[in-house]
Amino acid sequence: MGIIQLQNIKKSFDENVVLKDINLSVGKSEVVVIMGPSGSGKSTLLRCITFLEEPDKGVIRLGENEVTAGNQPNKQRKATIRELRQNTGFVFQQFNLFPHRTALENVMEGPIVIKKMDRDQAKKKAIALLTKVGLADRMDHYPAQLSGGQQQRVAIARALSMEPMVMLYDEPTSALDPELVREVLLVMKDLAKEGMTMVVVTHEMGFAKDVADRVIFMDDGVIVEEGSSQEIFNNPKEERTKQFLQDVGEE
């Protein structure tokens, strides 16, 4: 049984059917890369896992926490969703750091506010995490004073501060200048090596080849094809996958 288990996830925005009956299971320490054309539903799928979008139908389980979509919101359900979110680190394309707090404060925020950790302990932990992502010398900087690559690494440290069971990344390097992509991918790679379970929406083929245990190709709200990066990149079976890889290759 996977650490993440999605069953029959459906999601529409008005008339627009974005996810059509998605089933997905991610095992502990597995790294899954999701690719697919723009508008195929990759972000929506990732956001459904932590209920940033509420799916219309389906069941989402993450570790111990299982939530059925579309149920009436009640206290118990809300608490379960919050717990599920605490176990999930979400990394956004646009970083979404808190601009009124320093790098250090960004990473201390979750443990202090949500876990009620005392300040000193939270600070120690935040320092360790920022050191780990290579930002020991930038702790007192505000987000606006950091480069995109540095901001994204702070965002990863912030996500890690909650000690999540899984990390979800939605195009974490798409907003970065090309020369800053590497430093972020390196941090992600290290995490994967340590055994972190990760689902990554990205078009970085190199990263997928190096790190992914499984590559999923999505189009038009369905999982078209999945397999090892070898299988998907060198030997795609589906016409849509071939077409997509060709388009990406030509860029």
């Binding site: 605490q86 999930t88 979400f90 956004f92 009124h100 909650m162």
Partner: protein, 217 residues
Amino acid sequence: MDFSIIIESLPPLLKATVITVLLAVVSVVFALILGFFTALARISKIKLLKAVSSVYISIFRGTPLLVQIFVIYYGLPQIDIELNPIPSGVLALSLNAGAYLSESFRAAILAVDKGQMEAAVSMGMTYGQAMRRVILPQSIRIAIPTLSNTYIILIKDTSLVSVITVTELLQMSTLIIAKTFEPLTIYLVAAALYWVVITFFTVVLDRLEKRTSRHVV
């Protein structure tokens, strides 16, 4: 111009200026509280809260402040609610400014990038925690310029409560003129005193704005 008149009328005018400032400060404190909760009500998902707050805002922004003052001071006694001039004035000014401030707060809350709320709740914060720790500190910074503006207007609007016999700066000036027959001199002194008060608060609020926005490029 007769300078001795200025010297003689200055002490009562200064006293009245203190009343004006107190009216403005007390009213703005109530207005901030009222405006803040009205803004939260307007953006809440609860329909009743939304409706009540919208009606309140619409009424107090859609009618003249002078009419609001008359309704409270002269109108309410008819249904056995009798308030003294100063409480009437404070009530009218607070309700009026509260309606404007709630719109500033609401706009400022909505102006915070929606990725901020997502980042906060995706870590596991409740809506309340995300509001308090992440959204509101940023919206207050965004709101400060319009809050300052409303406050400056509020200071000027305190002159309207002179019509219900509150002896603030304008009313005191009128009383002095009734004795001295020097309207030009006295009203100019009053204008100067308003200018000093408003300029003082403008400078203070500008500083506050600069201080709160220092980390944001």
